[in-house]
């Protein structure tokens, strides 16, 4: 029924830190999440992208030392694809995800609290019909707990380098106007421009 006490305590502390980070990162807010889905506000992608890169570097640096092991989910095709799309639709309607919704509750947003009730009901429905759902979902096959390095035969660091490259391009692109403006401003200060 219970995990060991120290794990529960660590979970609570981790959650507290996560809640602080989500709130200070502005993603405990409806307009930031929906703003991301309508491609106007890129905060969510910036946060997730940075987390993925920093985390990937940390995990794959520590993996050979045995200090960490991977805890990933199996690729049950129909579950992942259908479940993923249902999740996305639900998130666009509700305006928060399972984590950001409780962070939004922490801010006092009462629509998020209503949604938490909805999530409990949805989870209950899944649990109640679990055998039937599993029967349907496993029809598409289960490819197992695959990682990108495994399926591609490439070292994880190739993948991480790829992610970093994409991130750098994205950051430069999103700051292009400011970068251009600052270089032009720099020229007019350092060089003496004499009008022709």
């Amino acid at each position: 029924m219970f995990d060991p006490i120290w794990k529960l305590a660590l979970g609570l502390i981790t959650g507290i830190l996560f809640g602080i980070l989500l709130q200070k990162g502005r993603v405990a807010k409806f307009r930031v999440i929906v703003g991301q889905f309508i491609l106007r506000d890129w905060t969510v992608v910036k946060i997730m992208g940075t987390a993925v890169i920093v985390g990937a570097v940390g995990i794959y640096a520590l993996l050979p030392t045995g200090a960490v092991s991977l805890h990933i989910k199996p690729l049950v095709w129909m579950g992942v694809v259908l479940g993923g799309i249902f999740f996305g639709i639900g998130m666009a309607l509700f305006g928060y995800c399972p984590g950001t919704s409780v962070a939004a509750c922490g801010e006092g947003r009462r629509d998020a609290m209503a949604g938490v009730g909805g999530m409990l009901l949805g989870a209950a429905a899944y649990v109640g019909f679990y055998p039937q759902i599993q029967g349907l979902v496993t029809q598409g096959g289960n490819a197992g707990k695959l990682t990108l390095p495994e399926v591609s035969g490439l070292s994880p660091w190739v993948w991480i380098a790829g992610l970093v490259s994409v991130a750098l391009v994205a950051i430069v692109w999103s700051n292009r106007r400011r970068l251009l403006a600052s270089t032009q401003h720099g020229d007019s200060i350092s060089g003496q421009h004499h009008p022709a």
């Binding site: 979970g11 990937a56 309607l93 990108l148």
Partner: protein, 198 residues
Amino acid sequence: MKITQLTTGVIVALVPGMVQAASELPTPYPYPEPAWSPYLVGGLIGALVVLTLALAGKKIGASSAYSDGAGLIGRLVAPRHIASLPYYRDSKPMIGWTLFFVVGAIIGSSIAAWSGGELNGLYLQDMWVARFGGDSVALRTVFALAGGALMAFGARMAGGCTSGHGISGTLQLAVSSWISVICFFVGGIAVALMIYRL
């Protein structure tokens, strides 16, 4: 020996995020509230996941807290029925890591919101009101309940949410997580564009 390796790994993981945050060009955030750079927040979240995996063999995730929570509530109301459900025979509703994590997130967010003077009791959010008007409490409730239910259901089908798959899984380069995240965004973007930008 293990501790030094762990610390080194964590510091190595943190450095890119900190460097980025420090050298970030001043971005004119369109909103007035106090907030941290998304790169700093993301970097710290990434480091946090590495830490929890190393210390406890646990990842950051939220969606299973809802099936756990539903089970715990169900236990109070109909314990024999809950015990008979196949789902709970495989994974009994545990007062465990994820549930404590989610409770912690509420506490942490409250502290952060309070410190920034952002505690509020809003039901209708700005972007919602701009789209549906101020007299839309009933519609908001329907969207929250239905959206929340569909989202939780989908998360359990996929085996995770934007935290579990979207952050913890993708940073481990798990194929299931990368495909999940793509599907999350495809579904979410399509529906949000239809609702708010059509």
